[in-house]
Each structure stands twice: as structure tokens, then as C-alpha cells.
């Protein structure tokens, strides 16, 4: 039963996100062309990679704090925002509007669990596609991209798990309050992670420069992993609590 339920959720998540996914592809192409005409070879490839995944390095943060000019990672912020927007309102819509015929067949608990696992699978698919396209773009721009790949795998794991926890946070706020609160919570977390060195602000883990140019995160990888697992569990329980207690269907109707 689970297999089919999760498959349905993954397919519908992708279907509802298709507009944002197309937007993400266009943004990637735009960034690639920007770098392609400005730089060449390895420098171009790394610059392109940093723009998408780099984030705000600790050096850039120190420079920002000391008042030196430092560039905010706009492309990275945009990419993270597009990811969260791609999650959208699927959970709430399916629960409150379109999924009632599934809900009565499987029960609330399994319905929620399926949303949890499908979000994880969605994050794996999303980030896999993103990393693969970036690597392909990297090859197009500059052929020597291999030095990065050694650090890429652990980064990819943290990127995926962090995206998953960010997604859960967004869904919890969206269900408990509304989508705008969910988005604000995500943006708040993103900026707290950018402008501090506290490792418990999880969006730091999606910044590749913080893994490659410093040891603060990589030295504590196990703690970070446990922290992400703990957060995902807490958020799962919180989502379950809200969904089981609230008349979500009614709220959706009231909103419309």
C-alpha cells in the first residue's frame, strides 16, 4: 500500500512543482551563460558552481562584519527559495481538497507518513537533478571539474537532508498558520544561517563554501547529522499533531 501511496505523492509533488522546476532550469541556464561569457575553464566552472551552491562563506561573513565590501549570494538565495516554492501547498491541498478519496481509504496516519517519505524522495530527486545539471554545465564551461567531486558527495547528502528538514519546516508552518508564514520562517532561517556561525542553523549546510573553505561543519558532521535527524523527527510529530487535531478541510474552505 505504502509504495503506491508514496509514488502517488511523489508524482503529484513533481506535477504541481513543474512551473517552478522550469523556472529553476531557466535560472540555471541564465547563470551558465553569464559565467560562460565572462570566464573560461576551471575558474568559470567553479564560479558557476559557487553561485548556485556556494552560499555565504565564513570569510565573506567576516568581511561583511568588519565592514569590508562583500557580495551577498543572490543566486544561492534564489535557488534555495525556488526549492521551497516548488514544495508549495501540496500537502495541505491534498489533505483538504483533492485527497479525501485517498484519505478515507488509507487513514490519516498513513496519509501523513506518505507525505513525509514522499518529501524525502522529492528532495533526493530534486537535488540529484540539480547536482547532475550543474556538473554537466560545469563540463560545458570548463572541463576540469573533478577536484570538487571528492567533497561533493558528503555535501550532497547534507544538502538533501537539509532541504528535507527545511521542507518539513515550511510545511509545518504552512499547515499550522499559512503559506506566507511558512515562507517567512524559511527566509528567516536562511538569513540566520547566512549571518551567523552557529552550526545549528541548518541552512549553513547547504552552502558549499562553508564545507570546502573551513572545517567548522566537516569537523562536526556527526552532530549535524544527528541534529537533522532529530529536527526531522520533531517536525514530523508536529505536523502529525496539527493534522490530527485540526479541521484542515474547514480552514482551506474558509481561506477560499
Amino acid at each position: 500500500m505504502y509504495r503506491y501511496l508514496i509514488k502517488r505523492d511523489v508524482l503529484l509533488r513533481i506535477y504541481y512543482a513543474k512551473g517552478i522546476l522550469i523556472g529553476t532550469i531557466f535560472l540555471l541556464l541564465y547563470l551558465m551563460l553569464l559565467v560562460f561569457f565572462g570566464f573560461s575553464g576551471k575558474t568559470g566552472a567553479q564560479l558557476f558552481f559557487d553561485r548556485v551552491f556556494g552560499g555565504f562563506s565564513y570569510q565573506a561573513l567576516d568581511a561583511y562584519r568588519s565592514g569590508s565590501p562583500s557580495e551577498l549570494p543572490i543566486s544561492w538565495i534564489l535557488m534555495r527559495t525556488l526549492f521551497i516554492l516548488s514544495i508549495g501547498n501540496y500537502f495541505q491541498d491534498d489533505f483538504a481538497l483533492n485527497g479525501e478519496f485517498v484519505l478515507v481509504r488509507v487513514g490519516k496516519e498513513k496519509f501523513i507518513q506518505s507525505k513525509f517519505w514522499s518529501l524525502l524522495i522529492y528532495c533526493i530527486l530534486y537535488n540529484s537533478c540539480l547536482v547532475i545539471s550543474i556538473l554537466l554545465c560545469g563540463f560545458i564551461i570548463g572541463l576540469s571539474f573533478f577536484p570538487l567531486s571528492l567533497k561533493l558527495f558528503p555535501y550532497f547528502i547534507f544538502l538533501t537532508l537539509t532541504s528535507f528538514v527545511e521542507g518539513l519546516l515550511f510545511e509545518w508552518f504552512s499547515i499550522r498558520f499559512n503559506k506566507i508564514f511558512g515562507f517567512l520562517a524559511f527566509v528567516g532561517l536562511l538569513f540566520l544561517s547566512m549571518f551567523t556561525k552557529i552550526i545549528f542553523f541548518i541552512s549553513s549546510y547547504t552552502m558549499f563554501t562553508r564545507w570546502s573553505q573551513a572545517n567548522l561543519l566537516s569537523d562536526h558532521w556527526l552532530i549535524l547529522l544527528v541534529w537533522l535527524a532529530l529536527l526531522s523527527w520533531i517536525l514530523y510529530l508536529a505536523i502529525k499533531h496539527v493534522v490530527l487535531k485540526k479541521d484542515l478541510i474547514l480552514r482551506k474552505e474558509a481561506e477560499s
Binding site: 508524482l11 503529484l12 481538497l97 483533492n98 478515507v104 490519516k108 474558509a254
Partner: protein, 211 residues
């Protein structure tokens, strides 16, 4: 024998009364029609009977079991409320096959038969997103009836259907009734309700009213 019973159902949201003192009793193997204008509370009542919404006060009993207390949802229930979220890139058949796997009660033959029953071609390769509104509604009805439910809740089953489609729904309801199914349905269409229902209630501003 009473199969579905709604006892003093009230629903209030933010001091706004949605349903007021609803009492309903539907015998096994009969059809109950609920008529009312948009926003009168018809869909809300169906959702409460289905266990999707908790009433502010009152009790729903289905086959002697209290919904929300003894059971979360009525057992062996088929529902058509709003627009079911089918997978847009799958055909009608594949969508139903996929759905049937959730409970594993029926096989391919039953799905094909149900699709034919509602006037859809089981071999139609078109994706759900390419379906017309009427076809979508027929598929929604098919998912509700395919697993041979004992209780059927249909919210506006004739929506988006042409005369032929309405006649099909009418015949389908008669057949299901002959098989001993209990059906509660809502509609604007007085003529249709008169044709298929054993009892009709009119709901206005959350209350059953006499006509």
C-alpha cells in the same frame, strides 16, 4: 434497519453556524437525497458523515459504530466530494489501478467493468489531464463505486454531465440500490433527486427545512 444516523449535528466555525440540529436517518439499501443551494451546508454534512470533519456537537453512527470515536471513517466507504486529485499524467484506467492498490480489494477485471459502467473506455490511452470535465466526473464516480462500497457519499454527482451522463448516474444509482447499497447524495437538480431518492431533505443555511 437504520444504517446511517446523524443525531443533532451542529457545526460552528468562528461563531458562524454552518449546520444546525441536523437529524438524519437512512436505512440500509436506500437512497437519501439532500438538496440545497450553494453554501447551504450539503457538502459539510457529507464530510461530517464521512468522518473528514468533526462536528461541534452531535453524533454520526454508521452501522451502529460512532464515526470519530469507534472508527475514524465509516468502513467500506466510497466518496465523491470536490475534485479527486488523480495523477494528471496517467490514463483513467491507470489511475484507478493505482488507487485500487491502496486496499488491494479488486483486480483489473473489476476496474475495467467499473469504467465501462460509467461510460468510459478502459482502453482509452488519453491522460487524465486531457479529459473533459464530464469525463473527470465519470472517473470520480468510478473511483467511488469500484471497490463495491456499502455506503456511498456522492456530492453533486451530476455536475458537468450532459443529459446522457445524468441518465447514466441515475441508472447506476438504481442498480446500486438493488444491490443493497446505502447512498447519500446531494444535488441542485430536483428532478434528478426525485427520480433516484427514497427520501429527500432540503437544507437551507445549515438547517433541514420543510418545502
Amino acid at each position: 434497519m437504520t444504517f446511517v444516523q446523524a443525531i443533532n449535528i451542529n457545526k460552528t466555525i468562528k461563531n458562524h453556524i454552518i449546520l444546525k440540529n441536523i437529524n438524519l436517518s437512512v436505512d440500509k439499501g436506500t437512497v437519501c437525497g439532500i438538496r440545497g443551494h450553494n453554501g447551504s451546508g450539503k457538502t459539510m454534512l457529507l464530510r461530517i458523515i464521512a468522518g473528514l470533519i468533526t462536528p461541534t456537537s452531535g453524533t454520526i453512527l454508521v452501522d451502529g459504530k460512532q464515526v470519530g470515536k469507534d472508527i475514524p471513517f465509516p468502513k467500506n466507504l466510497g466518496i465523491l466530494i470536490e475534485y479527486p486529485g488523480f495523477i494528471p499524467d496517467y490514463s483513467g484506467y491507470k489511475n484507478l489501478y493505482f488507487l485500487s492498490m491502496l486496499q488491494n480489494k479488486i483486480g483489473e477485471a473489476e476496474i475495467r467493468q467499473t469504467l465501462s459502467q460509467v461510460g468510459l473506455n478502459p482502453n482509452d490511452p488519453r491522460k487524465f489531464k486531457k479529459y473533459s470535465l464530464g469525463m473527470k466526473q465519470r472517473l470520480g464516480i468510478a473511483q467511488a463505486i469500484m471497490e463495491n462500497p456499502d455506503l456511498l457519499l456522492l456530492d453533486e454527482p451530476t455536475n458537468a454531465l450532459d443529459d446522457k451522463g445524468i441518465a447514466m448516474v441515475s441508472e447506476l444509482i438504481h442498480n446500486l440500490k438493488k444491490q443493497g447499497k446505502t447512498i447519500i447524495l446531494t444535488s441542485h437538480d430536483k428532478e434528478f433527486l426525485n427520480e433516484v431518492s427514497d427520501q429527500i431533505h432540503t437544507i437551507s443555511e445549515g438547517e433541514f427545512v420543510r418545502e
